[in-house]
Amino acid sequence: MKAIVCVKQVPDTSGVVAVKEDGTMDRAAMATITNHDDLAAVEAALRIKDATGCKVVVVSMGPPPAEGMLRELLAMGCDEAVLVSAREFGGSDTYATSQILAAAIKKIGVDDDDIVFCGRQAIDGDTAQVGPQIAEKLGMPQVSYVAEINVDGKAVTVKRLLEDGYMTIKVQTPCLLTCVKELNDARYMSVGGIMECYQKPLEVYNYETLKDDPLIDVTTIGLKGSPTNVYKSFSPPVKGAGMMMEGADKATVEKLVSILNDKHII
């Protein structure tokens, strides 16, 4: 058994958000982090490794500096890394990215008892489309919004976090799970892990490696091939600070009602 985890290096949105003239994000001008949901996926895979001793392979599509992120994941305990990186892949939307990642995962090799993990969505695009599209392309069952995982041989029982409750689903491997950050708290890199991470295998898949895979239609990848066009990117307006009221007494309730009344909310 092995776990393959898709990860994305994303801009750190807690810092400055820079947007280029063409409306896309100026990633070079922003600090980067590993996407939060993807870290939950990595931790989920590492916990299965802790329990079963399985191998964990992390795969990321991105520019060469994404190697730094992959090394950090190796320092957390992942065993191997694959960086999918080529100029031809740059600017890909979710449709294009999922073709390329599906081909990369196929090349890594998916066995009967393997699980592919993805984060639910990336904080830069917020689409939540790549994971499900990869599953479709690889023809494997998928469960999204995973907030709890129990693996018993080839049977995987997962709890999905939905807006109005939970849904429990049992699924057979090989399968793809998209994880939410509520799933767990990712571990820290360890000192020993950091000392070893540059000795662990990191393979680069470029355009030549993947272009002949039938999962990829080379006319629909990269910025030019992607069907999505970014019209405009902008920072959402900052919301005003909320107001907290404490107390469960009549006076507080009356005050609340009066405020809502004044604002014509009720």
Partner: protein, 386 residues
């Protein structure tokens, strides 16, 4: 000196920072207020390999280097001086002398337990009558008829004592005569375990700062330990103690460095928020010049600390470097934290903000593991000024 950090060291720094910010900083005030040893934090640090950073993997260490260890103490101390000294005393004062002087059996037995954090280590040299005058030891160790060592005496101000399982203890094993016919105490080093018969931990000190670090008295009353607990050769204890303290000074210098850096970070943040006379106080030239001076002094201390660490790593002589690093870093930490409290004004004097704690924590760095006066003695002796 090349001060470019390796890729691994850069990554370690990032990990230490994340850990300090998320796990250590939120507890720092509680640790101080309650004089509480942060046991859970120590367990978490141990799990990440932070209790044996620069020892080889074959002894259970993480296989990194001395500078990587220095950065760990520095980053923890930026947010909590207590947590910084726990790692420093454990690593420099217990793991290091065992690693550098122990037999293969001693290293194989003790280091994996210490590096994994299963056991915590401490060091016992200071006595009521033997502080800076370390030769003034009164604790004795004599061999009994079974070949065991029997220790009698007490040690004071022992960092980590309340929670440590292993102690490197110094005791008089005889009287020798030097070349000039003067009588001298023969001092030897021993490894003592907390569970050894006749060993007990005494009074817990109430301190001005680093309140969560457990500082206690050790009492040995006919404390009997097997012959194989002698650390290094008999009679070589004083040298082992001095060499251990050379390394320990790098750890304390790192703690001092971290405290100064942490106080500056807090003060920069505060002065950009605090408004007086209609302006942020960071806009006043006094604030700007004070912080510029403090940063420059701290960076200078950092170079000395890192340089001493790299010399130790490269097996170059580093006694004077460690003394200079500790002298400068400790005096910088005291000066910087005091000035930071001043920039905070009245709020700085309250326990609502961390700078008063940092100021209290910083003072000890001028005292323990050799006072600043001792560092000046070491430096001047190395300069041949006598």
């Amino acid at each position: 000196m090349d001060l470019h950090l390796s890729k691994e060291q850069e990554m370690l720094r990032k990990m230490y920072r994340d850990f300090a910010e998320n796990e250590v900083k939120p507890l720092a005030e509680w640790v101080d207020e309650n004089e509480a040893f942060p046991e859970e934090t120590v367990k978490k640090m141990a799990k990440l390999g932070m209790m044996g950073i620069y020892f080889p993997k074959e002894y259970g260490g993480a296989g990194a280097d001395v500078l990587s260890y220095v950065m760990a103490v520095e980053e923890m101390s930026k947010v909590c001086g207590t947590t910084g000294v726990i790692i420093s005393a454990h690593t420099s004062l217990c793991c290091a002398p065992i690693y550098e002087n122990g037999t293969e059996e001693q290293k194989k037995y003790y280091l994996p337990k210490l590096c994994s954090g299963e056991w915590i280590g401490a060091f016992g040299l200071t006595e009521p009558g033997a502080g800076t005058d370390a030769q003034g030891q009164q604790t004795t160790a004599v061999k009994d008829e079974n070949g065991n060592w029997v220790l009698n005496g007490s040690k004071i101000f022992i960092t980590n004592a309340g929670y440590a399982n292993v102690f490197v203890i110094f005791a008089i094993t005889g009287i020798t005569t030097d070349k000039r016919g003067r009588k001298k105490k023969e001092i030897s080093a021993f490894i003592v375990e907390r569970t050894d018969p006749g060993f007990s931990v005494g009074k817990h000190e109430k301190k001005m700062g680093i309140k969560g670090s457990s500082t206690c008295e050790l009492i040995m009353e006919d404390c009997t330990i097997p012959a194989d607990r002698l650390l290094g050769k008999q009679g070589k204890g004083f040298g082992i103690a001095m060499k251990t303290l050379d390394g320990g000074r790098i750890g304390i210098a790192s703690q001092a460095l971290g405290l100064a850096e942490g106080a500056i970070e807090e003060t920069i943040k505060y002065t950009k928020e605090r408004v007086q006379f209609g302006r942020r106080i960071s806009q006043f030239q006094n604030t700007q010049f004070q912080l510029a001076d403090m940063h420059a002094k701290t960076e200078a201390a950092k170079w000395l600390v890192y340089s001493a660490a790299m010399k130790k790593q490269n097996h170059e002589p580093y006694t004077m470097d460690a003394a200079m690093a500790k002298l400068v870093a400790a005096e910088t930490a005291s000066d910087v934290t005091r000035r930071c409290v001043q920039l905070f004004g009245g709020y700085g004097y309250t326990r609502e903000y961390p700078v008063e704690r940092m100021m209290r924590d910083a003072k000890i760095t001028e005292i323990y593991e050799g006072t600043s006066e001792v560092q000046r003695m070491v430096i001047s002796a190395n300069l041949g000024v006598n």
